[in-house]
């Protein structure tokens, strides 16, 4: 539990030092906070039931009742985007947490203890990295069958490796430093060296990597949903909405523009924050 606390305290402290952040990162932060707030109180905001089809009103233009108009089934696009953010952001947060919880321990053990564990993990990593992660995610998700759970599993399976690599790289360079040798001479157990001396060194690079990755993960999730491998109709999800709007692209581009804009804004804000953090924490290598 201590590491989880450390992670949050680090995040908190970083946010507290924001006043000398670059304005782009602040903009990203404000955007993201707004989106998260909208997601949280979404059910109170929406004017219509996002699932309710009304064929009489299908493909209507924006109006007071339907702020963004309606889709091919006559459902309110605005309501669907607001509710759909829960799926997209929720899955992203779950995926990134799982990836960190898997990637960090494996990287620490692989880097510090080395030997056979390290060889196996790194050969696996080389194998995974040889394939584009997106193609691999499609393959795994397709193999497991279309559902949100399988989508998450496939993204976790392709993503953990980059965290393991970053953590392992840091550990390899840190473990030869004299303070780690001093800790060994001073009688620290392997567990203590890993948790007390090595873990704090990797928190900030992992934080940066994670924020930069949020954007990518949202894109993968939306893309897989677009391909029909993620959220299943009629559940609102941004990628799935894009997919639904495709047949009407030429006549009613709004069906694709609104969910596309939603994805764009979230990805943009995460990348802005990630780059700000990277510069602030001095993690040039990521």
């Amino acid at each position: 539990m201590r590491f989880v606390y450390a992670f949050f305290i680090k995040t908190y402290l970083t946010v507290m030092k924001m006043k000398n952040w670059p304005p782009t990162a602040l903009l990203g932060l404000i955007l993201l906070i707004t989106i998260v707030l909208i997601t949280a109180i979404g059910p109170l905001l929406i004017p219509n039931d996002p699932y309710m089809a009304n064929m009489a009103e299908r493909l209507s233009s924006p109006s007071l009742t339907y702020p963004f108009g309606t889709d091919h089934m006559g459902r309110c696009i605005f309501s669907r985007i607001v509710i759909g953010s829960q799926a997209t952001l929720g899955i992203t947060v779950l995926v990134i947490t799982t990836v960190i919880l898997i990637g960090i321990p494996i990287g620490l053990v692989s880097g510090y203890i080395g030997g056979r564990v390290d060889s196996i993990v790194m050969r696996l990593a080389d194998g995974l990295i040889a394939l584009p992660e997106f193609i691999l995610a499609i393959a795994i998700a397709g193999f497991l069958g279309p559902s949100l759970t399988n989508l998450m599993i496939s993204v976790v399976l392709v993503k953990w490796i980059s965290y393991t690599r970053v953590v392992r790289g840091i550990v390899l360079s840190e473990r030869e430093k004299e303070y780690v040798l001093a800790a060994r001479v001073g009688g620290c157990t392997t567990w203590r060296i890993i948790t007390r001396h090595l873990l704090p060194q990797i928190i900030s690079p992992v934080l940066v990597l994670a924020t930069l990755d949020v954007g990518k993960i949202i894109l993968i999730i939306s893309s897989l949903s677009y391909l029909g491998l993620g959220a299943q109709p009629p559940a609102p999800e941004w990628g799935a909405m894009l997919s639904d709007g495709r047949p009407y692209f030429q006549t009613f581009p709004e069906l694709m523009i609104y969910p596309g804009m939603a994805i764009f804004i979230v990805v943009l804000s995460c990348n802005l924050i990630g780059e700000g953090l990277r510069d602030k924490l001095g993690e040039k290598s990521i």
Partner: protein
């Protein structure tokens, strides 16, 4: 107390140490001197069991570190501590000074050094006493390494080294990355501590003057071979190895 017998070590095909043999008595200080790459620091790592040797035997108080594994090795290490060369790298940058100092004491809860009797359960008090021993006051407890000067950091490193009151303190070029004025202070501090705790020093350096000032005996390494071993007072004797004479000459000329 320390026996080093016919120790050899090589990294891949490069031989770093070849059949090195020497002994040390309790309370004695021995200087290891030689150029960079002559195997001095490897010798130190072998003695504390941070590296494995290829041939020979090292025993400390009758314990062979190379034979020990896991918990036993950890237990044996309390008798030997190290002060490292680079005070910028030897302290964890994310820990306040006092936590670094008492870390060995936390790891060996059953060791009670004479000067820490009565406060053994009070971590901050122990750190304060140790800081005092190395000439730093309690204001330094909460500071982080980046807030200290090189000399202050090395004092912290020494405080950590003496905390367990080890039989043997290995000083791996403790002054080579410090300013000349600070070097003398650190050497004097080490000398006082030695007198106070009756520790043995294995003092590694490439500076002949500081070795001669610190040590009872001097061992000269050349490319992994122990070429000369003598009492400090015999440094200028005619019977010295030609390489030793050359090192002395180089020091004098400088």
């Amino acid at each position: 107390m320390l026996q080093v017998e016919k120790v050899s070590k090589s990294y891949r095909s490069t031989s770093v140490l070849t059949e090195v043999t020497f002994q040390m008595e309790q309370g004695e200080s021995l200087g290891l001197i030689g150029e960079s790459g002559s195997g001095k620091s490897t010798m130190a790592k072998l003695i504390v069991g941070l590296e494995h040797l290829d041939g020979g035997q090292i025993t400390l108080n009758g314990l062979d570190f190379q034979q020990l594994r896991g918990a036993e090795l950890r237990k044996a290490r309390r008798h030997v501590q190290v002060v490292f060369q680079d005070p910028w790298a030897s302290l964890n940058p994310k820990l306040p000074v006092w936590k670094s100092i008492i870390e060995p004491l936390e790891n060996y809860p059953d060791v009670v050094p004479s000067f820490l009797k009565g406060v053994r359960n009070d971590k901050r008090k122990m750190a304060e006493i140790l800081l005092e021993k190395v000439g730093l006051d309690r204001d330094f407890l909460e500071r982080y390494p980046h807030q200290l000067s090189g000399g202050q950091r090395q004092r912290v490193g020494i405080a950590r080294g003496i905390g367990l009151q080890p039989n043997l303190l290995i000083c791996d070029e403790p002054t080579s990355s410090l300013d000349v004025s600070i070097q003398a202070q650190i050497l004097n501090l080490l000398k006082e501590l030695k007198k106070e705790f009756n520790m043995s020093y294995l003092f590694i350096s490439h500076d002949m003057a500081s070795v001669q000032y610190m040590c009872d005996r001097i061992a000269v390494f050349k490319q992994g071979v122990l070429v000369d071993l003598f009492l400090s007072k015999d440094l200028f004797s005619d019977t010295r190895h030609p390489y030793t004479k050359m090192l002395v000459q180089a020091t004098v000329e400088r």
